[in-house]
Symmetry: C2
Subunit: 162 residues, 2 copies
């Protein structure tokens, strides 16, 4: 079942590329007692994710800061090496966004948001969404964008809702 507004985020281990290499991150520990935006997307280095979704949160980062949001996390079913390269390529790291890899799709499956698209080489990838999570509970869920679109799940759309 897909996690939605009012639900508690399920536990899953994500991977962040640290200075010393890949580090395991418990998502429930990371969200505890904090206000966090988590947005999920199909893949690093794909057009809509690189040209629309990530930039929309880079553009709005300062406004989320003003609203008291502690962290903005981007999750994708890629490995931490790819996420690190993409973080540099998009400028997401410099902008203060956190890129978390979900290499086995553990978080994405637990969220009920996996999908396959074999013709483009996607297996167990994440649907596009953005959510506002307060102390581990989903306060706002923005999803339902058509393929190749990033409207509902964009930084600007989320900003209007908070």
């Amino acid at each position: 079942m897909a996690i939605s507004t009012g639900d508690t985020i399920p536990e899953a281990t994500l991977v962040r590329m640290g200075a010393e290499g890949p580090e395991q991150v418990s998502i429930t520990e990371r969200l505890k007692g904090r206000k966090v935006i988590v947005f999920g997307l199909p893949g690093a280095f794909t057009s809509t994710c690189s040209a629309s979704h990530v930039p929309s949160f880079i553009r709005t980062k300062a406004q989320f800061d003003e609203k008291g949001v502690d962290e903005i996390i981007c999750v994708s079913v890629n490995d931490p090496f790819v996420m690190q390269a993409w973080e540099k390529d998009t400028g997401a790291g410099d902008a203060g966004l956190t890129m978390l890899a979900d290499p086995a799709g553990e978080f994405t499956k637990a969220m009920g948001r996996g999908f396959d698209a074999p013709p483009v080489g996607f297996y167990g990838r994440s649907q596009r969404y953005a959510m506002y999570v307060v102390d581990g509970k989903v306060e706002i869920m923005q999803d339902g964008d058509a393929p190749g679109q990033c409207d509902m799940s964009s930084g600007e759309a989320m900003l209007e809702k908070i």
Copy 2:
């Protein structure tokens, strides 16, 4: 069972990023009647693959041409979007190497060369190897490099054997 010298390469579909988007590639059709180097590695944007393995075939590409090798193919269990970005980043495309994505690990499994390394976010990835394939049959197999090393499977090591 791992495919080795004397074996015929098993059929598998790989994915190449073309001008119009991802294209399916039958490996057996691609190898038929041709002399091809195929090298496999753990992942795009990882250190040994980016700094050693791919550059070793860029350096030796012209010498393989002189020996009548028709194509040099790099295979990794990544999606075609990541492989395209990595092809640009390493200069492999400009050098004339072909990057083929094995997003579901179909080829890597059929080759008997998959491995997992959960701490770094690798699942069903490819061990490091290089092989010289003539008309779909393995003539030379170069593998057995220690993790983080690229000696046996390098372009120079393969060049010496042909």
